[in-house]
Symmetry: C2
Subunit: 222 residues, 2 copies
Amino acid sequence: MKIAVLGTGTVGRTIADRLDGLGHDVSVGTRDPEATLARSEGDGPTVAGWLADHSTVRLAAHDDATADAEVVVNATNGGGALAALQQAGAANLAGKVVVDIANPLDFSKGFPPTLSVVDADSLGEQLQRAFPEARIVKALNTMTAEVMVHPDVLPEATSVFLSGNDASAKAVVTELLESFGHTDVIDLGDISTARGAEMYLPLWLRLMGSLGTPTFNIRVVR
Amino acid sequence: MKIAVLGTGTVGRTIADRLDGLGHDVSVGTRDPEATLARSEGDGPTVAGWLADHSTVRLAAHDDATADAEVVVNATNGGGALAALQQAGAANLAGKVVVDIANPLDFSKGFPPTLSVVDADSLGEQLQRAFPEARIVKALNTMTAEVMVHPDVLPEATSVFLSGNDASAKAVVTELLESFGHTDVIDLGDISTARGAEMYLPLWLRLMGSLGTPTFNIRVVR
């Protein structure tokens, strides 16, 4: 499939790497490709270096990456999600499956971050309202990037959640998740259920602190 | 141990029944014992009927129930927690382990409820601030009453979380949880980590809706 992954951070690169390895035709979207290629990342690997190791992945502006994609993955940070999708363009997103992985984390008051939207709304719903013709599916936001795409790094099967208004879009995402190795995909319901998946993040952050690793996930035992 | 369980709802009765069965000396606290005994509960069993089946459990006003207890369990609904502990009395709570099971659910806007406190505060912290000499431990609020006290109704071991400022109080609660059958007690950290445990509730509620049962729990796989 032609898939656009919006966001060049750890989550975006990890998803893009996995999709590329599974044989998909992957474009990675960024606000300004030239600036992204020129950017140093402190001690971490640069996007330019990462691209050199991923010769079949294309870096492009959000709208260019999205234009001919069949599936779009929002792997930006939550604060930049709306702007990234706006740059991708409502016309480019119309009718497409948009997997929203982002969490609306607000680091302005330090660590652990709070959520910039809670309770009676969610980032998933905000994106669905902003792009009513896109088929938003919230997924994968409840685990670290490595576990998203290689759930078998954990010793037992764990659960992944879906929220979205469009059953056929959720079926497409379920197939992608299963291709990553997920075996327990739980459909929470319509996009308003993204409130639950997003509000789990504060517990996830405290668990990371207590366990001393982000490499964990929850299994719903029933 | 002498244990006061504040609250005569399903959670309070379920906890009291289990503690009584384990041989503890259990008092159940309520605002007005005479009114509670006179109350019909719609189609459900009355408190008076429940007490008739639990001859070794004593019903008492919150302060009376708490006065000589070694451990206090707050099993009121979140909206009534502060008032119940106020009636129990700061002097009666001073120095004692207070297990806070309540969730700050706000049903005023319908179902599913929102949370009346989120993000930079939690009910657990509110109670700790209101009763600085009590040793508040948030626990068990992340599962249905039956699973709290009989985790082995589920086919696999699941996780239970602790939040509190006092290590020895958490050790007391850990022992109680293990006596219920819990085998994976995760200490999240100080009482501020109750934010994480409480903000999980919206996901729990959506899972209940999706799974069609409250009889489930999460296992942290790491």
